[in-house]
């Protein structure tokens, strides 16, 4: 399949810290895409702490991811709940009672394989807080990677920590049999000032001089790890600096270049919608957060369709009904 024939279907939304609005952002993106006529499925990937269904006003889901993981239903598609928002299907997360928060390797593979088969143009996987290996694996598997954070110092630190953990997890898997690379990778991850290397750029420099093949492979692996940033609950102009801080630190120490998708201003309408269990931004077209979400969605549509070498995995052929990117970008919100 050529690069031009592919587009990103699966988008994972992570961020490390809890309470930064990952679920609200996932829901908002889904609703905005559905308004543009796209078919969307939201998956609550917060295994053990699921509540995306509550945000959508579904109090008692009759079927959840747990049914699929425990093989009570054969297909993931069978767990999709149709919601009041036209065009959006919801797969509710599982509680931890039966160990669903820690799926086995086989369960993970079955889940990821079937996500590819879901009947939707966009699938958003809302991940939980933290940076457990399972969570990082789901994030890394998704070709579309979005990190949501706020401008709070703790959120910024956790977001960077999450990005670094996910990248090192990916590199450790990519170079699983190359002990030399792994050894040096662990050196760069530590904080021992006596070690000669402290960052991925140090590692790249060393390989460029001494092992060009490994250098090429590492460059490729880093290029593949393309991610997007959304800063949520922006309250002041100073808060707008936070994605730039993450961008700069990722660039300087991890040799990756995250792209800023947008900023969502703090909006009391969101809190009200959460408490009323009304999916945000339904009926909130004029709120600033809703307008910003609309802009972000247009960028997601554009990014999901732009061919990028190295992103060839996990894409699907675009449907005939897809509008050209230019049309979508000029549509009024």
């Amino acid at each position: 399949m050529s690069a031009e024939m592919n587009r990103i279907k699966l988008w994972a939304i992570g961020g490390g810290k809890g309470g930064v609005g990952k679920s609200v952002v996932s829901l908002g993106l889904g609703i905005c895409l559905a308004r543009l006529g796209k078919k969307v499925i939201l998956i609550d990937g917060d295994l053990g702490g699921a509540n995306l269904h509550t945000l959508m006003g579904v109090r008692y889901p009759h079927v959840t991811l747990e049914h699929f993981l425990l093989k009570k239903v054969p297909r993931l598609e069978d767990t999709v709940i149709h919601t009041e928002v036209e065009g959006i299907g919801l797969i509710c997360g599982a509680d931890d009672i039966l160990g669903s928060a820690n799926p086995t390797y086989a369960q993970k593979i079955r889940l990821l394989n079937q996500i590819e088969e879901l009947p939707a143009q966009y699938v958003f996987l809302d991940l939980g807080a933290g940076s457990s290996f399972n969570l990082l694996d789901f994030f890394n598997y998704s070709p579309g990677k979005i990190v949501v954070f706020t401008s709070q110092a703790t959120s910024l630190q956790n977001a960077y920590g999450f990005i670094k953990s996910a990248l090192y997890r990916k590199l450790a898997k990519d170079f699983t049999k190359d002990y030399e690379v792994l050894d040096m990778l662990y050196q760069t991850a530590g904080s021992d000032s006596e070690m000669p290397m402290h960052s991925i750029p140090d590692l790249l420099k060393k390989f460029k001089e001494e092992a060009p093949t490994k250098y090429e492979l590492l460059c490729r692996a880093l290029y593949d790890f393309h991610l997007f940033l959304i800063v949520n609950m922006v309250k002041s102009s100073a808060d707008l600096k936070s994605p730039e801080i993450i961008q700069a630190v990722c660039n300087d120490f991890l040799s990756i270049h995250p792209q800023i998708l947008g900023q969502l201003v703090h909006d009391s309408a969101v809190e009200a919608a959460v408490n009323q269990m009304v999916p945000f931004p339904m009926g909130q077209k004029r709120s600033k957060a809703a307008q910003a979400l609309q802009q972000i969605v247009l960028r997601i549509i554009k990014e999901s369709r732009l061919p990028k070498a190295g992103w060839l995995t996990n894409r699907e052929k675009p449907g005939d009904d897809d509008l050209p990117v230019e049309t979508l970008l000029t549509q009024p919100s």
Binding site: Y160, S193, A238, K241, A248, F253
Partner: protein
């Protein structure tokens, strides 16, 4: 006098000499204590004395003014960072390590960065993150003072106009206030535009 070897080992060949000057209550007595940096929070730096036995009366130093003097080996200008001692204690094996908490008084970004660079075993990326955070935070602090300058300019401007319209006796004063108020607002606006045009 035996030095604290653990403290000495945190230094490398390029580390600056750091002297903590503890200023007595009469402002004339100054106790000079060679130290190393052990920890740094947003407002307090934890120091460890290299020769702890020399620090007499350490238990009574809380609340004293303390100046950190850093002398660099490369011939760069020495740096002075002002603060106040908030705690002192002996700790470690056999209680041989004297640590002192110095609350920094409005440290500059350079001071924070220099102290951060002296921290042993710091992850460089996290340091990069917090350096940038400090920079952004300092810039946002400036916007507060910007607002006050605008407000002052507007008060002068409207005050001057008010005086001109209301009272012929104070017309000259009105002109002066009006002029300086306009100058403050226009100057600050131009400065902000110029700053935005600067490359990051």
């Amino acid at each position: 006098m035996a030095p604290n070897l653990a403290a000495l080992h945190t230094r490398n060949l390029d580390s600056p000499y750091i002297i903590l000057e503890i200023i007595g209550s009469d402002e004339d007595t100054i106790l000079r204590v060679p130290v190393v940096v052990r920890n740094l929070t947003a407002g307090v730096v934890t120091l460890e004395a290299i020769y702890p036995q020399n620090v007499a009366g350490w238990e009574n130093l809380n609340g004293y003014k303390g100046n950190l003097r850093l002398r660099f080996k490369g011939g760069e200008d020495p740096l002075e960072i002002k603060g106040k001692l908030t705690w002192t204690k002996f700790s470690g094996e056999d209680e041989r390590q004297l640590t002192l908490g110095l609350e920094l008084a409005k440290p500059t970004l350079t001071a924070k960065k220099v102290l951060g660079d002296l921290m042993p075993n710091t992850a460089q990326d996290l340091k990069g993150l917090w350096d940038r955070w400090d920079h952004a935070y300092a810039a946002s602090g400036r916007t507060g003072s910007d607002r006050w300058l605008y407000l002052l300019g507007l008060i002068l401007l409207f005050g001057g106009v008010g005086l001109q319209l209301g009272n012929t006796t104070y017309q000259m004063l009105g002109w002066i206030l009006w002029f300086f108020g306009s100058l403050a607002v226009a100057g600050k606006s131009l400065y902000c535009i110029w700053q935005r045009r600067l490359p990051r």
